[in-house]
Symmetry: C2
Amino acid sequence: MKPVDPHPGSGIDRRVLLSTMALLPALSTALLPESVAAQTATSAGPLPSWNEGPARQAILDFVRATTDRSSPNHVAPEDRVAVFDQDGTLWVEHPIYSQVVYCLDRVPAVVEKKPELKNVEPFKTVLSGNREAIARLSLRDLEKVLVATLTGMTVEEFVAEASKWLDTAKDPRWKRPYTELVYQPMLEVLRYLRDNGYKTYIVTGGGQDFVRVYAEKVYGIPPEQVVGTAAGTKYGYGKDGKPILTKEPKLLLNDDKAGKPEGIHLMIGRRPYAAFGNSTGDREMLEYTGAGAGARLKMLVLHDDAAREYAYGPALGLPDSKVGTFTPELYDEAKSKGWMVISMKNDWSRIFAFDQTRGL
Amino acid sequence: MKPVDPHPGSGIDRRVLLSTMALLPALSTALLPESVAAQTATSAGPLPSWNEGPARQAILDFVRATTDRSSPNHVAPEDRVAVFDQDGTLWVEHPIYSQVVYCLDRVPAVVEKKPELKNVEPFKTVLSGNREAIARLSLRDLEKVLVATLTGMTVEEFVAEASKWLDTAKDPRWKRPYTELVYQPMLEVLRYLRDNGYKTYIVTGGGQDFVRVYAEKVYGIPPEQVVGTAAGTKYGYGKDGKPILTKEPKLLLNDDKAGKPEGIHLMIGRRPYAAFGNSTGDREMLEYTGAGAGARLKMLVLHDDAAREYAYGPALGLPDSKVGTFTPELYDEAKSKGWMVISMKNDWSRIFAFDQTRGL
């Protein structure tokens, strides 16, 4: 086993952001809305979109071990906490995080309100729609885009803006809203755990406020159970004297890598019994979960299904996609610590609710 | 109405900490444990320890208005959030916050582990037990005490230390554990709101990790529903290679005054429908709650019962006690905005569960 570096890096990989820009097809276009596919499974029994195999069995065994009152690993209901990474674990992250698309898409509206930015970089480049030029933006420039599009408004204004985008923006490959690109098997795990008394949390490197906009509707996870990278807000009073909270460009919690267990302690205050991830950003969260006593479920989604979704990552000998990196070292750690790797290709009979194609 | 200063100060009033030191009777002595009084009301109906009157009626009216499906102010169950300040609202804060007593009491144990601190200020002075000298400690010295006693250990070690103290330390006036000095009428409000589908949260200027140690047992409020002043933790690995979270001397959230609505947004992500406080530290939280649409319950506990608890605060024309300051300006704002002021003397027939004396 290779020596484990306790701090293999902190924060968002800057190269990730920059490189994914190159893959950005264009500012996403708002097409006509389509009907939202039902996300409930119709088959009887738990986990109908999972094939028989060790991954599905591990989930069933864990739930039995922690909820059967006669089990030595029975867990009191109030301690039943399960945490889920979002990007690449609950929904598609490839080829670019949808929140980054959101920020780029918001630039025209920001410039409309502040016309003086029109000929100022990086806004000028983003407005040009020139993908190569956008990909060459410096980190400092990208930060300006994030700050301009994610801060400076009230929390209510942000919710309204993000909701509108989510209702209209579409993924270029599937031509569907991003909120439909959620993994049906994972929706079933969320529901199965909740049916067995687990409180389900999202613990994401993405923006906490952004994910909260749709988490309840899409995953059945309420805002108070979304832990994410969080900027501060500032309390003040609007022109009418009414109290307002304004989103500030001040990072409170970088909820990635070591920041995930730290965020779990801050926001939940209990060690999880189950943790799901898909990349090196989730490594510390799974380690922290696994270090608790009794039965603990640790699972990693491996993107190995090029036909139905994507195949990427160095663990498969494939190029690093710059999103959700699954390294050989992570694979080794998973094997040595008994973490279960979920093969999308082999373990999931269906990827999306709208996908009628069955796998194995 | 006086003009409202949007930011009357931020953070913990430093004078509070310094001045309360003077009132510290002594490092609390650990006496023999007594049996814990039952905290459940036995009378039939809700709020048995409340006298008939506008305060009790306001609570009943609010619950009816927000839970009756035919009410124009009906609130969906998932939106039912009620927030409670702790010190002076749920339990006794006078003459000194119990967490400050905890920190001073911890100094001998800290010095035992680090004997080099024995003759170093401020630890030398705290060890002397000389109240006047402790009261004269500078803010910088006090911060050293807080940092030495609240950080540097794993989160599990902190829970063990604080639990042991809470089991043995006693309030000098009542000769009972601090966790028994909770207001019976407020326990009834917590239960009544929960029985009506409300999620109850503590939103305290006190330490989040400290309050979490006892909140579930004492108030029925789980760790994930305690929002407080929070320091960061650092993820790392112990000598045995196991992941640990170490409490760090880095302030993440100063959950007082404007920090309360900011903390509510960070940790809950929903505007509360009910808010209870007792001081200027709760003002912004009540304003923020009141600025929402529909029926909102805003209540302030007034400490006006010198016989059964304490009477203090400028709003009563009494000296500022340096804990939970209730100013005339806060009283004016409460009146102008329809916030309900709870008179402990007139509105509560009983203060503590162990108190068999009935009031009015």
